[in-house]
């Protein structure tokens, strides 16, 4: 679905923010891109819908070279959800916000009406349909930003730091939306440094450091490699840390979730 071929990118022509990035994301995969502040995560994400184009190398989305497509064209395939919903929302009403892209893509008006109603109900926003997006709370605005992208049904959904400023309950809700998207066969790419969120929701992880891909593999492989994470400014999930503490006592180190930790304890200690 998405392919980066030896991608280099520079904002100023002097320093490369992405260096020789090659990766492949298959249709239906849920991939988390992790890395410390300034690693190039957001820059990578902006290549997906052509907001940025590679300085060298190529990015292919659905087989098409992004340098030969407009942002409008690519946006139909890739919906990008910004970190700060205020940078994305602009319409007079919640309804118009969601309808905007659909109108732009020239859908017939009855389809638009159905789609907008469907996503607003899905995201518990229907009662606000005539309100201004700016009257909504932070959490609601975030949901609206997601809803307005999902309304036009892009094949790829790209999230930039979706958990920042979200409390526990909101993070859980976000996790549920991601599950829903997975069941619809969508391809999901998320940039984040929230390791617990990755452990709970993603199967594949790309670790970026100073613009380079330093690891790419299953979430289990990457997130339970404590020294690799620490070397690149990240921390392993808390229960992985526990597994390392216990590894001298016959515990496996590749533990990510509560259920796995619980079972390992039962099994190893025979209690």
């Amino acid at each position: 679905m998405i392919e980066f071929r030896n991608v280099y990118f520079s904002y100023n022509g002097k320093r490369y923010v992405l260096k020789n990035v090659s990766l492949e994301i298959k249709r239906g995969e849920a991939v988390a891109v992790i890395g410390e502040n300034g690693a190039g995560k957001t820059t990578l994400l902006k290549h997906l819908n052509g907001l940025l184009k590679p300085t060298k190398g190529a990015v292919l989305v659905g087989g098409k070279d992004t340098r030969k497509c407009s942002v409008a064209e690519l946006s139909r395939t890739v919906g990008l959800i910004f970190q700060n919903p205020n940078h994305q929302l602009f319409a007079e009403t919640v309804w118009d916000e969601v309808a905007f892209a659909l109108r732009n893509f020239n859908y017939p008006s009855d389809v638009i009406r159905k789609r907008v109603e469907y996503v607003l109900r899905l995201f518990d926003l229907y009662e606000y349909k005539d309100r201004s997006p700016y009257e909504l709370s932070g959490g609601e605005r975030k949901r609206l930003a997601i809803a307005s992208v999902l309304a036009y049904d892009p094949e790829v959904i790209a999230f930039d730091e979706p958990t920042i400023g979200q409390d526990y309950y909101q993070k859980q809700t976000l996790g549920q939306y991601i599950k829903l998207l997975k069941t619809q066969g969508k391809t999901i790419v998320t940039v984040t440094h929230d390791m617990e969120f990755v452990a709970e929701n993603f199967e594949k992880v790309v670790l970026l450091s100073r613009g380079e891909v330093v690891a790419c593999g299953s979430a289990r492989e990457v997130l339970t490699n404590k020294s690799l994470l620490e070397k690149h400014g990240l921390l392993a999930p808390q229960l992985t840390e526990l597994a390392y503490e216990l590894s001298d006592y016959g515990f496996p180190r590749d533990i990510l979730t509560l259920e796995e930790a619980y079972r390992a304890i039962k099994r190893v200690l025979e209690v």
């Binding site: 890395g35 959490g139 526990y168 526990l242 930790a261």
Partner: protein, 284 residues
């Protein structure tokens, strides 16, 4: 008198019907490290704004009750007087930092207190050292990374030598390593210099280890108040769905089936001891 006292404090922002905080009674003793947590919109930031006088002096609305900071009633003293006692570090460092260089940012507060130049120099050096920004004093503030900006924002507040440090989600945009570094700075100020700390933070798995006390808020009211070990395992916390650290969740799950020490583990290392205490038991 405690260093911070809230007496039945309620505040309703102008134009809103529901109070942001409601009948809050809270006493914080000198030298305590208190973490305030709760879901978005529960009144955490409003509570912090009452400590340095932004409420009632800057934000308009209906303010009831009294807040005393270092013995001063915030109704009777202006923000600049309170600022030398309770320094507030904002959630977003970009809304706090406004000088061109790091050094001038740190100098701004002390200059406005009318301090002599050698004292200003001393304060810049001290607060920069504490927050590990001594090496970037001549850098331009807009070129700093998120973590650096956050530490500069803390340093600028420290230069006022407040006896109370108030922080509103100081690590929200920072990667895990940068977060640890900032929380370590805060911990050192508390332990070495006896600074009273009041912090709003969602990363409970990190901050619980440093805090003496955790205050849990819901819909403008304080619903739990006690040691982190007690609050994180309270019925209220479990029912509310705050981000209870995974080791605490694991402990609670095992405790349903096994007799475990009453000391709730807060870190992987503490949890390791709990797990090892189960060895050779084989009970069900």
């Amino acid at each position: 008198m405690a260093i911070i006292e809230f007496e039945r404090v309620s505040f309703t922002y102008r134009g809103l019907k529901r109070p942001a905080i409601k009948d809050v009674d809270l006493r914080i003793e000198k030298g305590e490290y208190v973490v305030i947590t709760g879901p978005t919109g529960c009144g955490k930031s409003t509570l912090l704004r009452c400590i340095n006088g932004l409420i009632p002096h800057f934000y308009e609305g209906d303010f009831k009750g009294n807040v005393y900071v270092d013995g001063l009633n915030t109704r009777e003293h202006q923000v600049f007087e309170l600022a030398t006692r309770a320094g507030l570090v904002f959630q977003d460092p970009e809304s706090q930092i406004f000088c061109l260089t790091v050094e001038s940012e740190l100098a701004f507060g002390p200059e406005n207190l009318g301090l002599p130049p050698d004292e200003i120099g001393r304060r810049i050096a001290e607060s920069a050292e504490l927050t590990e920004v001594s090496g970037i004093l001549d850098r331009l503030t807009y070129e700093l990374s998120g973590g650096e900006k956050q530490r500069v924002a803390i340093a600028a507040v420290l230069a006022l030598k407040p006896s109370i440090l108030v922080l509103d989600e100081p690590t929200s945009n920072i990667d895990p390593k940068g977060t640890l570094r900032i929380l370590e700075v805060v911990r050192r100020l508390n332990q070495v210099y006896g600074t009273t700390v009041v912090i709003v933070e969602h990363k409970l798995e990190l901050v619980s280890l440093h805090a003496d006390r955790m205050v849990l808020m819901k819909e403008g009211e304080i619903v739990e108040d006690g040691s982190p070990r007690k609050v994180l395992t309270s019925e209220t916390a479990l029912n509310m769905g705050i981000g209870i650290p995974k080791v605490v969740q694991l402990y609670l799950r095992l405790k349903k089936e096994h007799r475990l020490s009453d000391k709730v583990p807060l870190s992987p290392r503490e949890m390791k001891e709990v797990v090892l205490s189960l060895r050779g038991r084989g009970e069900k």
